[in-house]
Symmetry: C2
Subunit: 319 residues, 2 copies
């Protein structure tokens, strides 16, 4: 796992974002709440800024209006000339890039925490496509230590070959926090409380880092995305079946060659034909039907995480 | 409970309908499947017709395009003059009224079975607003006998004072079959199989009735809708909290005065202030947020169902 050095300055410009997808209700309602009552987002060395990323989709309780906002933060979109016919989310991505970026510049925010829900039974999942992997791995480890009863998994999402497109890619560092299962358009009190507590822990971790605390090296398990598997389809592109009951709700559990993955409407089972064990993630996520994804395949990886050194630029050390 | 006499003729014109709400996936995919392969819908005395009620909303995977189709089958809408500016669902309701009605006439279909999903933990629920309550109660009882392990509850939905507005009100008799929990936009194989098996049982029951079988009187429990309870709101109309964890997923279980119903974002609990036990239904249903409904209150009722006499118009009896 390649990674850039950890940040060498305190993270002072931090954003906590909900409603990047307008029907993922934990982030939507936490952002709305914090916009009115931001006290919970204050720490000694910084105050995180709450942002409601997609107000139009949130008002309509839809994932997006014209296109998926969280696939729109490429430099191609952000640097293209604005026109009156731009999709709503392209316009909104440029606005957010002005607020939180510009992407790839020194002016960009230090950290974006983007809050998501999934209909899949993922539990808590930290998704990182940031080059600052070491910092994010320590953050995930801190959450695991703080919440020993809550599965909190680390998913390395994209390879370095692709241009990053997610909202958190606008900042110097960031993560997406996924939690599920929660239906689109529904706010469950249990998940709302969990996400809120996790955000508090994440801000606490950033505060400890800003105060100069060092974090020792450790070993952890993680998951690395390998690819996607589509639903079985009819000749006209419709569904010919859906996720098999033995795979449904079993995110992050081993899927072995020969295990059933789909139940066809004809009654037959479709078996997994790979040649090694994989770990399905986002199994039967509502928003992925249109992306032709029934589930993602991931591999389990062992990660040797180096120490996160304490910041040495504090006045006491520098004097 | 008032009810009209049971039907005195065989039910030969029967429709099985999915996609009245375009993101309730069991009905959507069963209707699509049966439109290609209708064999399962054939019985000796009739062949049920599969219908995809809202093709545009189904294609968009939304509940509706312009307005809730299942609130649009009033005579006011159905008889109003068509204009180019009509909402999509008003136009579609008139088309379905031509296909399956006209509502309130002798030409109307004998029975409509409308398939729905809910994000609430209702299990299987038969909703009847039809005057032919006795027939529908016998149908529900038959499903309970056929599926002893599957809770199958009967909910009397509307009082006779209101103008009926649902799709099944277009036919002479009908029910809505609700099953949950299932997120909007997700097709779970377990629920898909349950709904399919229930539809088979319902068609079997109609076939038995058509063949002249009589069904004896019995006693059963049911639920009668009393009213709706909105979410707690802020002064600007936004949510101030959501369904309490102790109520979430507890549809059809007794709610006592003093029990918690909402958890406010401030951390406080809101308690139920009624003066008698009620039975919440459709607890935290995604589609009801915009209708200002956090859950419906119902009362449990004991129903003495009279015998459903066998049809006497068959040639052997008449001779």
């Amino acid at each position: 796992m390649t990674s850039l050095p950890a940040p060498r300055e305190p993270l002072r410009r931090v954003a906590v974002i909900g409603g990047t997808h307008g029907n993922e209700m934990c982030g939507v309602h936490l952002a709305r709440h914090w916009l009115k009552a931001p006290g919970e987002l204050q720490r000694a060395s910084f105050s995180a800024m709450p942002v409601l990323a997609n107000p139009a989709a949130t008002a309509a309780c839809r994932r997006y209006m014209d296109r998926d906002l969280n696939r729109t933060f490429t430099l191609t979109f952000l640097r293209s000339e604005a026109t009156p016919d731009d999709p709503y989310e392209v316009t909104r991505a440029r606005e957010l890039n002005q607020l939180l970026g510009p992407k790839g510049t020194d002016q960009a925010f230090d950290f974006i925490l983007d809050l998501h829900n999934t209909t899949a039974n993922t539990g808590v999942c930290i998704i990182s496509e940031s080059p600052y992997t070491v910092f994010n791995l320590h953050l995930c480890h801190y959450l695991q230590m703080q919440n020993p009863d809550l599965p909190c998994r680390f998913l390395e999402y994209e390879t370095s070959q692709n241009e990053t497109y997610s909202l958190e890619s606008v900042s110097k560092n960031g993560i997406a926090l996924e939690i599920g299962p929660q239906p689109q358009g529904v706010l469950r009190a249990d998940l709302f409380s969990q996400v809120r507590a996790l955000v508090m822990s994440i801000l606490d971790f950033i505060e400890l880092f800003n105060q100069g605390k060092a974090f020792p090296a450790f070993e952890m398990e993680g998951y690395r995305k390998l690819g996607a598997v589509d639903f079985p389809r009819t000749s006209d592109g419709g569904l010919a079946g859906t996720v098999h009951p033995r795979l449904q709700d079993h995110d992050f559990e081993p899927l072995r060659p020969g295990d059933p993955i789909f139940k066809l409407f004809s009654g037959e089972d479709v078996l997994y034909e790979g040649d090694s064990i994989v770990y399905p993630v986002f199994v039967n996520e509502a928003a992925y039907y249109e992306k032709h994804v029934a589930f993602l395949k991931s591999e389990k990886i062992q990660i040797s995480v180096p120490a996160l050194p304490g910041l040495t630029s504090s006045p006491t050390v520098a004097s």
